[in-house]
């Protein structure tokens, strides 16, 4: 296997890790308004992801940095081409990070309510926009001979990409609900389970249409296999959730995300950003990648450090494995 193929896989793994992890914390952020009924419950939700959301977000930064290092043209075309949606995502991630850290710093009701609103919207918008972005990447956009995106902002908001956005939005919310049922105790746990059923069914409908559309437009044998896994995993997650097997439900909703992201990347390969203007202008793993030496250096770094990251991030989840209920939320302890 050529190193740039390996790096295509590694980039896919990084995005998968990002969507798996930040997927549920976006979901939890959204549920703070749709599931939680009062401040105490909202705080329960926020605290299930409190110690981990920051580490989860680094998967995105690493995906960005790794794309820069391994596929500079992919990085350049994608981020300059999708400037406005990306800017919106950045604004959301900035406000979101600050919201978690600042919400509890003052006890004023308005202060806290505003940050809570911010958590909701800044979780919802990126969950949607990432789907739009990946829909466009897989579908192909107007890329010229100089590898520059020459379409408009409106072109990015096509029905297929918007459907992709809705799919990730609902899928992440479902994943978040399943995570909540796994990480909370008491009444909110039961309600999370109940909401997960509805969200799971909605995800099933949207994901099926979006993934079949993807398969029809840009799929191949491998992507079809991933599609089947994604659909089965989703059904499994729904079933496990019904049976109150929360661990299994979470593993399977996670597998749904893994398989769905894998399917998108398998449909892409060997392109990284297909051009709709001329297939010869598409960015591929070959024409967008760094030199062999750089890829070799980065491979060594990735091989040494990725397992280490998984190890200590995994440990964090173990340390904070206890379920949280309203009884665990301290009264406003801050002055």
């Amino acid at each position: 296997m050529h190193l740039h193929d390996l790096w295509f896989i590694l980039i896919a793994v990084l995005w998968t890790g990002y969507f798996f992890l930040e997927g549920f914390d976006f979901g939890v952020g959204i549920l703070t308004r749709t599931l939680a009924r009062n401040t105490a419950e909202r705080r329960v939700l926020i605290n299930t992801i409190g110690p981990v959301w920051d580490g989860n977000e680094v998967w995105l930064l690493t995906a960005g940095g790794a794309t820069f290092a391994a596929f500079p043209d992919w990085y350049a075309t994608l981020f300059s081409g999708f400037f406005v949606p990306l800017l919106l995502i950045l604004v959301c991630l900035i406000v979101r990070g600050v919201s978690f850290e600042y919400r509890h710093q003052r006890s004023g009701e308005r202060w806290q309510r505003n940050w809570e609103l911010a958590i909701f919207w800044t979780s919802l918008l990126p969950a949607f926009l990432w789907g739009v972005a990946f829909g466009n990447i897989v579908h192909g956009v107007d890329i010229d001979a100089d590898k520059n995106y020459v379409g408009t902002l409106g072109d990015l908001l096509n029905p297929y990409a918007l459907l992709g956005g809705l799919t990730t939005l609902v899928l992440f919310t479902f994943h978040g609900a399943v995570f909540t049922s796994l990480k909370t105790s008491g009444e909110i746990r039961l309600r999370a389970r109940a909401q997960a059923t509805g969200l799971g069914l909605a995800t099933a409908v949207l994901a099926l249409v979006f993934l079949v559309w993807t398969q029809a437009h840009s799929g191949n044998g491998w992507s079809l296999a991933a599609l089947v896994v994604a659909v089965l995993a989703l059904l499994g997650a729904l079933g496990a959730n019904r049976l109150a097997r929360e661990g299994w439900a979470f593993a399977l909703s996670g597998l749904t995300i893994v398989a769905a992201v894998a399917m998108l990347f398998l449909s892409l390969f060997p392109d990284v950003m297909p051009s709709t203007l001329n297939p010869d202008w598409s960015l591929t793993v070959d024409n967008a990648s760094s030199s062999g030496y750089t890829l070799k250096v980065m491979t060594v770094v990735a091989v040494v450090f990725t397992p280490l990251v998984l190890l200590y991030q995994g440990w964090t989840y173990w340390v904070f494995r206890r379920r949280i209920g309203v009884q665990h939320i301290p009264a406003a302890a801050h002055h």
């Binding site: 920051d54 690493t62 400037f83 850290e101 030199s291 030496y293 200590y312 340390v319 494995r321 301290p330």
Partner: protein
């Protein structure tokens, strides 16, 4: 303004604003992480309450600050691609590697262990919890190292070749990129400056509380104890770091005289080559017009800064510009950076940084506890110190008042110095984005319209301004409140297995968002 110029200018303003802003939080984060880790170590080792209170207090301010550092860092990771796509394409093979390493090695480290530290007070054994904050501190320093390696490559490209097929830079030697002298010296200079920044911050806030205690407006002696320790720690770090900043700054200057003579000539507004060359303390008149009307100079010092002797020639702006024009084509004028900004940026950097260092040096002496101090002037560790000039002589009321005030007022000086340092070094490299290889005007995203760029610039600037107000008000609130001396450490040391579930299953979390 014509469109091509606007294109470059707007992207530069965005990069300048977002980066200078980001770098307000970075040095504070780097140094406060270590200071908090040090205080927590003292607490774990001695069990003294004042260290616990100091740890919690500075930890709180550290967290308010790091939140901003983290989120503004996200923009840094992506804006190369958004606004500087041609730059990204040209340098990605070299420049991307340290960035990816920074994310994989440093960011994961920081962000994971900061979560463990924030929420781990009642979950982790004391020593494991302490290790977490040290790992955060190491992560922040590693992060600085990788990004400075990337920046150093822009200042002085090494370990690459230009691929004849694509015309792009290609990495040939990662070790050189990570260990070249520009990287090593920049890292040393930036990290020492970071510690000076955090130390001045600690000194400023501690001075505020101790000055209140001195005037009888603060009666909580535990709080005073925590602040007095903090003051001494801050002053000691500021002195050591300030010395390090000066030494590394001098070395960096020498490296730059060799690698970017134009930057250093511009720093001095030295138009004509001179031997020996004087150091300009200040100049009145337009430094960018080729000569200065009034100028205060110290003879020979510039020669010393450049070459460690008092007589060698230092090339001036005109000769250097002519040399660059001969080498790279075009007119000499194309190679002259903004002299006004570089000249004054350089001076403000040194001025603010060294003032802070000098203030710390005086403070370290006058607030000493025992050394060369008559017993009747020694104060208890929970009292504010007397400001002692000699063994028996205390500063008079006027100087005492102003000493404490200066401690408070110089709190932000290193922040100003840092900002001007970056503005100087980046503006002084112009017209190059990668010195000698790529011009800034060729680096911009060609497909991003001026309108879109303006949306980006405006959005981020407004957002950053709003967040700055919120951040500063929060910091001020908690800084003024001082340590919560009612707070107690967890009663028993948790084991790694965590609390047994039946025992305290319903006990509230020690910390919750």
């Amino acid at each position: 303004m014509d469109l091509a110029v606007a294109h470059e200018t707007i992207s530069r303003w965005q990069f300048g604003i977002t980066t200078v802003y980001h770098f307000l939080f970075v040095p504070l984060t780097i140094s406060l992480a270590s200071i908090v880790a040090g205080l927590q170590t003292a607490w774990v080792r001695t069990g003294k309450e004042k260290y616990f209170h100091a740890t919690k207090f500075w930890g709180k301010l550290f967290l308010i600050n790091i939140a901003m550092g983290v989120v503004t860092g996200i923009v840094q990771e992506f804006q190369f691609g958004m606004n500087w796509s041609d730059y990204s394409r040209f340098v990605g093979d070299v420049f991307g590697a340290p960035l990816a390493m920074e994310a994989l090695i440093a960011f994961f480290f920081e962000s994971t262990f900061i979560g463990l530290w924030i929420f781990g007070w009642d979950r982790l054994p004391k020593k494991v919890h302490l290790a977490c904050i040290w790992l955060v501190a190491i992560g922040t320093a590693l992060s600085a190292y990788f990004i400075l390696a990337a920046n150093s490559w822009m200042q002085h490209p090494v370990g690459y070749r230009i691929d004849p097929a694509t015309g792009k830079a290609q990495l040939t030697d990662i070790v050189r990129v990570l260990t070249q002298n520009t990287t090593v010296v920049q890292v040393f200079h930036t990290l020492t400056a970071a510690f000076l920044t955090g130390a001045a911050f600690v000194v400023g806030i501690a001075s505020y509380h101790l000055w209140r205690a001195k005037r009888g407006k603060e009666t909580d002696r535990k709080r005073t104890a925590a602040m007095r320790t903090s003051l001494r720690v801050g002053l000691a770090i500021a002195v050591v770091a300030g010395l390090g900043v000066a030494i590394s700054g001098d070395t960096l200057g020498k490296v730059m005289f060799e690698q970017q003579p134009m930057k250093m000539a511009a720093a001095e507004a030295l138009w004509d080559t001179q031997a020996p060359a004087p150091f300009s303390v200040f100049a009145i008149g337009d430094v960018s017009k080729g000569h200065n009307s009034v100028e205060l100079e110290i003879p020979g010092i510039l020669s010393f800064l450049a070459h460690s002797d008092f007589s060698s020639a230092v090339p001036g702006i005109n000769d250097t510009a002519a040399a660059e024009a001969a080498k790279y084509g075009g007119q000499p004028n194309d190679y002259i950076p903004n002299i006004f900004v570089t000249y004054w940026g350089f001076r403000l950097m040194i001025g603010f940084g060294m003032t802070s260092f000098a203030a710390a040096l005086i403070g370290l002496w006058t607030t000493r506890r025992k050394f060369w101090l008559a017993p009747e002037h020694r104060t208890g560790e929970d009292e504010p110190p007397k400001l002692m000039l000699t063994r028996n002589r205390e500063m008079n009321v006027f100087f005492t008042r102003w000493s404490w005030r200066i401690g408070i007022l110089t709190m932000g000086f290193p922040l100003v110095a840092n900002s001007f340092g970056w503005i100087f070094t980046e503006m002084g490299r112009q017209p190059w984005v990668v010195f000698g290889l790529m011009r800034t005007r060729d680096a911009v995203s060609p497909n991003v319209t001026v309108g879109t760029q303006l949306v980006g610039l405006t959005t981020l600037t407004v957002l950053y301004a709003v967040l700055a107000v919120i951040e500063v008000r929060l910091l001020a609130k908690y800084a003024a409140a001082g340590p919560d001396t009612g707070e107690q450490p967890p009663a028993k040391d948790p084991t790694l297995r965590g609390p047994s579930d039946d025992e305290d299953a319903d006990r509230p979390l020690a910390f919750a968002y």
